[in-house]
Amino acid sequence: MAFVLAPSAPLSAWLAEVDKWSRNSPDFFVGRAIILDLAGVALSQSGISELLEMLAERGIRVMGLEGAHPDQLGPSLPPLLKGGRPTAGFEAAAPASSANTRAAATAGPAQRQEPTSLLIETPIRSGQSIIFPYGDVTVLGAVSSGAEVVAGGSIHVYGALRGRAMAGSMGNARARIFCSKNEAELISIDGYYRTAEEMDASLRNRPAQCWLQDSVLSIAALD
């Protein structure tokens, strides 16, 4: 499965964002096939070469280009591709409305499935960080104070959630967070966050779920 990067102007700001992303999840781009969608920027041939070089410095291998005019390309550049389907992306791919999902499900032959969930059977200790941009994360133990779980999808914690949980990290407003004991330091869905101080005391120390409703992060007890 290829991953589509869509740069936007100004490029320096976009690159800064890429850097921020790589810092947060250092191995994210390792060994990944990346397609560069140039529709959002107007670049000359040398501009494209320069951008590719800057991405190469960051360990990002571009396998193909999209959204560029054939005139812009030269023999030294990666091939132009068409009809690539953006996966849940860095640039917050289209929100997965149910109609959208159905369309995607019926379009084209089924591709080889990457794992879409991660199961962690041990407690997550203070200072540890679990980053899984591809889907849901399930933790059987507790997430300690000072630990964090970042998931592209939803987060399920069967122990106490005492650290940070960030769901929908790749831009998924439908992601949710579930925990059997809410003592979280911070929860976040699709970039909207709430700290422990901003949580109602009545929602602490009990099972809870968090979801995003009209851009407001809601928390409700599950018991």
Binding site: R125, S126, G127, G141, A142, S144, S145, G146, R162
Partner: protein, 271 residues
């Protein structure tokens, strides 16, 4: 072959050195050959608690660097002939410790002793990571207080990822030792309870050492608390913990010095 144990905590001042000396002396009293090793290079204290500060010639760094041989640096305890100390250097810094050098020293000690107990410095830097690096088991010293518990949690994470055993895919044996526990204050809600600590750390309990003046008194005269006054509450708690470390099944209790009605009513036993 010796069992190598690291006494660690993350946070400073929780009782690592006191516990190292007390457990070392307790194990040596059962006739086992024990070495206690001070990894706190630059801030050594184990020599003081063991009462051997005036007999230090060579130290761990000298042995790691090959300047001295291990038998030259080991100091035999005057009270227990199966107890030995390998002191740290006070003048050098932790960068003088190399992983290979420490590995060689630990390997050599494995053949000479039944127990090698490594007193880790506070923090998670080089000294602390090297102290735990070659351990078979860890004693995590925790005070019933939130910052200590969180630091212990961090250390447990490192034990499960950065030790040689963990990197080989094996599990390092871990034990929680709760020190400075005050049953009365816990009953009043001024301290975390034993249950709170164990719930957060989800690691088995080795023992509960009550807060006691006896600990400071023993330190000041350079004697492990398990040698100075074996009948005192902390000494009995450490002796029990040492037996559990050996694999004996000892019921968990919190020894007490006070014989007041209060203690009979509250919190004498842990779950």
């Amino acid at each position: 072959m010796a069992k190598v144990i690291v006494v660690t905590s993350g946070k400073g001042g929780v009782g690592k050195t006191t516990s190292t000396a007390a457990l070392g002396a307790a194990l040596a009293q059962t006739g086992q050959k024990v070495a206690v090793v001070d990894f706190d290079v630059g801030l050594r204290n184990l020599d003081l608690v063991m009462g051997a500060e005036r007999r230090v010639v060579f130290d761990l760094i000298n042995v790691v660097q090959g300047i001295a041989k291990l038998p030259q640096a080991l100091i035999r305890d005057k009270r227990l002939e199966t107890l030995w100390l390998l002191p740290a250097s006070q003048t050098r810094d932790k960068d003088a410790l190399t992983e290979e050098g420490v590995g060689n020293v630990i390997q050599e000690m494995r053949g000479k002793f039944d127990w090698v107990i490594c007193d880790s410095p506070a923090g998670i830097e080089r000294g602390a990571t090297l102290a735990m690096r070659f351990a078979d088991a860890a004693v995590i010293v925790t005070n019933p207080e939130v910052s200590s518990v969180r630091d212990s949690d961090r250390i447990i994470g490192l034990l499960d990822s950065k030790t040689e055993k963990a990197e080989k895919g094996q599990r390092i044996e871990k034990h929680i030792l709760i020190t400075r526990y005050d049953a009365q204050r816990a009953a009043r809600g001024e301290m975390l309870t034993i249950e709170d600590v164990l719930e957060i750390l989800s690691t088995p309990l080795l023992g509960i050492i009550p807060e006691s003046e006896e600990v400071l008194r023993a330190s000041n005269i350079g004697s492990p608390v398990t040698l100075n006054n074996t009948a005192s509450a902390p000494a009995r708690a450490y002796l029990d913990a040492a037996r559990r470390l050996k694999g004996d099944d000892v019921p968990m209790s919190i020894p007490s010095d006070r014989k007041g009605l209060f203690d009979k009513l509250f919190g004498r036993r842990a779950a």
